[in-house]
């Protein structure tokens, strides 16, 4: 594919988690400012801005005004939910390749958590009257994200024999990585027994199968690889990308719960990068739930379809394992910033800035984004090395 090579040159993260009293726009302002400074740039260098609003859709194009950015050549919101972060890097790269913009800031910001209220309330949707046939699932009681993913996970279990203990191995591995991440919210190691004893949220998903809903913002700066080479941080080169949005048929023969968009998005990204799944050193997988990690790893081809349970139970994902995965603790143990969680950790690992948790071999990193209930998927492959033709 003939595209101008691009790179992620800056990363900006606010305080993440139970951080109250700030609006998404205030978080976004801080994240973009930090990302620009991280790259050795100023806000005046930014000529493109892509904004991924969170679950409440309350961050928008007014962010240009908040940041006092003048004469932008690219400005848009991107809403692919958990796949948005990677989508933004893709669109930024294409805009740069087309000569439309030179320095594009991509930001996710949200503040769904309210003081004194639980994570469930943050994503509950709240109080809308139910109307029409589209409301039948909610009327039946399928309202929360954990419940909707639980139905998907249960289908995988019934079809392939995947077990709760195997899902637990994913949570245990993520926490082991988080223990080495100063930014992680949950750093106390857990055991499989802890997982099995954690309260049931929506069977088969337990509390420790679920991500940590968080307030905050993360931004990245995308520019040409050529320009990135002269900036403050080691460039994180973009090698390949893909998207796939299955549009599951609500009908006999549907793959819902069994195969995700990763099955098409992953191979597309690998093909663009000119590598195979066996070349990947580190996986940063969107892990809103443990099950999401499992199905994504299967669909990317790190193990055969249906064998994800055995694969993760082998310890492959954990520190010291054969397939280092979610090396910052992921959304399960670190922070839930939608697709910016795996993307930010990929940038840190590619730069070699992972400190105690840095994976020695970091030549190729595969990053996933997932939105809806497996409805939207995006993949990115990055590397500390410029891609040779």
């Amino acid at each position: 594919m003939n595209v101008t090579p691009t790179a992620i040159a800056g990363l900006g993260m606010t305080e993440l988690g139970r951080v109250y009293g700030r609006t998404p726009a205030q978080f976004a302002l801080e994240a973009v400012t930090r990302a620009a400074a991280d790259a050795g740039l100023t806000l005046d260098d930014i000529d493109g801005l892509l904004v991924n609003p969170g679950v409440n859709n309350d961050t928008d194009l007014r962010l240009q005004s908040t940041l006092q950015l003048r004469d932008l050549r690219l400005l848009s919101t991107v809403q692919g939910f958990g796949s948005s972060a990677i989508q933004m890097v893709q669109y930024a790269s294409m805009a740069i390749s087309a000569g439309m913009a030179d320095v594009v800031a991509c930001v996710y910001a949200d503040a769904p958590l309210k003081e004194g209220k639980g994570s469930g309330a943050a994503y509950a949707g709240g109080g809308r009257a139910l109307s029409g046939v589209e409301s039948l699932p909610a009327a039946a009681g399928l309202k929360s994200a954990p419940a909707r993913y639980a139905v998907a996970a249960r289908r995988h279990m019934e079809t392939y024999g995947t077990t709760s203990e195997q899902l637990g191995a994913i949570a245990v591995a993520a926490r082991a990585w988080a223990a080495m991440n100063p930014l992680a919210q949950m750093r106390e190691p857990i055991t499989l027994e802890d997982h099995q004893n954690s309260r049931m949220i929506a069977d088969p998903l337990r509390l420790l199968d679920c991500c940590l809903v968080s307030n905050g913002a993360i931004a990245v700066i995308v520019t040409s690889a050529e320009r990135a080479a002269d900036l403050a941080q080691p460039p994180v080169h973009v090698w390949g990308w893909g998207q796939s949005h299955p549009g599951y048929a609500n009908h006999r023969g549907s793959d819902f719960g069994l195969v995700s968009g990763a099955a098409q998005s992953g191979p597309a990204a690998l093909k663009m990068a000119g590598v195979t799944v066996d070349d990947i050193d580190i996986r940063e997988i969107y892990d809103c739930f443990t099950y999401t990690t499992l199905i994504t790893l299967e669909d990317y081809g790190f193990c055969a379809k249906g064998e994800g349970g055995e694969f993760v139970a082998s310890g492959a994902l954990a520190p010291g394992g054969s397939h280092p995965t979610n090396t910052g603790g992921g959304e399960l143990s670190s922070y839930y910033m939608w697709g910016m969680t795996p993307l930010s950790e990929a940038v840190i690992q590619a730069r070699g800035q992972g400190g105690q948790r840095q994976v020695a071999k970091n030549d190729l990193i595969m990053v996933s984004g997932n939105g809806g209930v497996l409805d939207f998927h995006a993949t990115l492959i990055v590397s500390p090395h410029a891609r040779t033709a």
Binding site: R154, A202, H251
Partner: protein, 134 residues
């Protein structure tokens, strides 16, 4: 076993009229001969625009499900909520409350029969009853 009430809109009126009669209404395309789920605006198989409401058999099989534990309030235990995807005999999937999971254990492929309940303040809606011994 309280379901959240649903009100009708113009599109869904035939569905809820059918539910009030005890009939499960799905979408059917005469040109393709294929059934689609209630929310379909075009045929899920052929994309044809000639969908019409047609009564289905009310028979189906469980595809998957979740059990959401009840939260006890004021010392009173609350019942679990069991919700699942039902594949109707005609093919379309419906997400339905399962009303007798404490009597018949849910399992993939288990036979279900669609029934109807009418929550206060809303239309009649379909629910699923697991068939014992299926």
């Amino acid at each position: 076993m309280s379901l959240t009430p649903v009100v009708r809109d113009e599109y869904s009126a035939p569905f809820f009229d059918g539910a009030a009669r005890g009939e499960l209404m799905l979408r059917y395309s005469p040109s393709s001969g294929a059934w689609s789920p209630p929310e379909a605006r075009v045929c899920a198989t052929s994309r044809a625009a000639d969908l019409e409401w047609r009564a289905a058999s009310g028979e189906g099989a469980l595809v998957s499900w979740t059990v959401i534990p009840g939260r006890s309030r004021g010392g009173r235990p609350a019942a679990d909520t069991v919700v699942g995807i039902v594949e109707t005999a005609e093919g379309p999937w419906l997400t339905l409350r399962i009303v007798n999971a404490e009597e018949v254990a849910p399992a993939a492929g288990a036979a279900v029969r669609v029934e109807f309940v009418r929550p206060e303040g809303g239309e009649s809606v379909p629910v699923a009853r697991l068939v014992a011994g299926s």
